[in-house]
């Protein structure tokens, strides 16, 4: 489970707990140079660190799936393109470009600001709504941000070099999408204020996964693992991982039976669309 840029594994807490109670082992690493509190490094270092974590998990477990939130989802894609043995990849609010409705139109200037002295001084300041639609939670987060400079849903500021590395990573991931054949679940909120749902749409259109499922939510913003629909996110992630296991003939076969006629019809429709 890879968290968002300059953030902490805390934002995956709810999902991790749910997966754990469903019998999965969830592991959310802190990546040096990527997570909050460590000095920034370039995106190659992020990918290397994530791949190292993947390898150490793959030694201990037979099947390892990668899950990522926001820029972490882009990182997850980079990991599975390097390690095609991964069982499945779950992309939550995948962010390949910052183009949601809360991102100001002059955002492209940041790319140039990197080459000016602003580079080390200016920091992108996270503002309300903090990726949360739930107002009670948003108020709580705003207090935590003021007090500690970091909260469950991310840091209060992101530095310019980190943002630039994120867009470099996104560029590389876009190029490698067509070669990814891992089972893939994409969950995205249509009101995402940081990453437009077009991100999810593009990934779904380009990725070459045989088992691909896209779920759009309409009662959340960017931080779908903490917002109003986190239960749906968690249960659908667990269900997807199980179904992807069943589709490969591992685990209990009886779980994947299709009894409902309506579901069978829908699956036939989807299969007809895919062919």
């Amino acid at each position: 489970m890879l968290h968002g840029l300059s953030s902490s594994p805390l934002e995956m807490r709810f999902l991790a707990r749910h997966l754990n109670s469903e019998g999965f082992t969830a592991f959310a690493p802190v990546l040096d140079g990527y997570s909050a509190g460590s000095p920034e490094r370039d995106m190659q270092a992020w990918v290397d660190a994530a791949v190292r974590e993947f390898d150490s998990l793959a030694e201990r477990y037979a099947r390892v799936s990668v899950c990522g939130l926001s820029v972490g989802a882009a990182l997850a894609l980079a990991v599975v393109s390097k390690r095609p043995t991964a069982h499945a990849v779950v992309l939550l609010s995948v962010t390949l470009s910052y183009d949601g409705w809360a991102i100001p139109w002059y955002r492209f200037l940041l790319g140039w600001a990197y080459y000016t002295p602003l580079r080390s001084r200016w920091r992108y300041r996270e503002a309300s709504p903090f990726g949360l639609r739930n107002e009670a939670l948003r108020a709580k987060i705003a207090r935590a941000m003021q007090r500690n400079g970091i909260s469950e849903v991310g840091p209060s500021t992101i530095s310019l070099p980190a943002l630039r590395e994120a867009s470099r990573l996104a560029k590389r991931v876009r190029a490698s999408l067509a070669g990814i054949t891992t089972d893939c679940l994409i969950i995205h909120a249509i009101d995402d204020e940081t990453a437009n749902p077009r991100n999810a749409h593009d990934v779904a259109a380009k990725i070459a996964s045989p088992f691909l499922r896209t779920i759009y939510l309409d009662d959340s913003y960017h931080m779908i693992t903490s917002d109003n629909e986190r239960e749906i996110v968690a249960s659908e992630t667990a269900a997807f991982l199980r179904e992807s296991e069943a589709a490969r003939g591992i685990g209990s076969g009886a779980e994947s039976l299709v009894v409902s006629k309506a579901l069978a019809r829908r699956l036939r429709q989807l299969a007809a669309l895919g062919s």
């Binding site: 249509i190 499922r213 779920i215 309409d218 209990s252 076969g253 009886a254 309506a262 829908r266």
Partner: protein, 225 residues
Amino acid sequence: MLLSPFLGPAMPGALFCVAAALIEYFFGLGPALTVMLVGLVIADYLFVPPYADFSVFDHSDLMLVVSYPGVTLFIICLIERLRRAQFRAEMFASVSKSRYEMLLRADNKRALRLRTIDETHRLLRHLPHYHDSIILIQALDRKASLRPDADHAAGTAHSLPHTSAPGSRFSAVHPADIARLQNTLSPGSHRLRIRSGDHTYKPVDCVGERFTTHAGDFLVLRIEA
């Protein structure tokens, strides 16, 4: 240029306006604005007399510069609004589609649960009803049934594997048949030798039934009535 004697300098921007509207309809705001500006320059250069000359700026140039961008921007903005509304509607449609699929999956799960509950009830009614004729109850491992080789490895002749429980008529079955059952127990009818006298065995029709309950799958073998 060839048509200019017939059309004259009337409505020089009209076709560029249509072009910009089409571009907006198919490609969005940015390209449409570019086409509009380029169109403005071309229209002024080629379609407003004096042709192919920027140096003169008169009343007809002014008319073009005021009217063409005004009309075009108006149309582009309207189409852009519609495009955004359309995008929004498509997003809502995809939300409802994913909700519908989640619903169907949940419904499928519910149907499965319902079926296992029915089966459990059937098993519970079955057990006391046929209590006196049951030979054997075996718990079937779902995973093992996918791997047929695992079944053969289990058990020797007279001892049952720990997944089975003897029924009330178990002791009356011929030992060789029990050994055979270890490997070939399956739903459907079987023919077993049941003790009828002191040392005589008689072939009797038996039936195995499978029950899929929430606790697992069971196979109940009983003498057919």
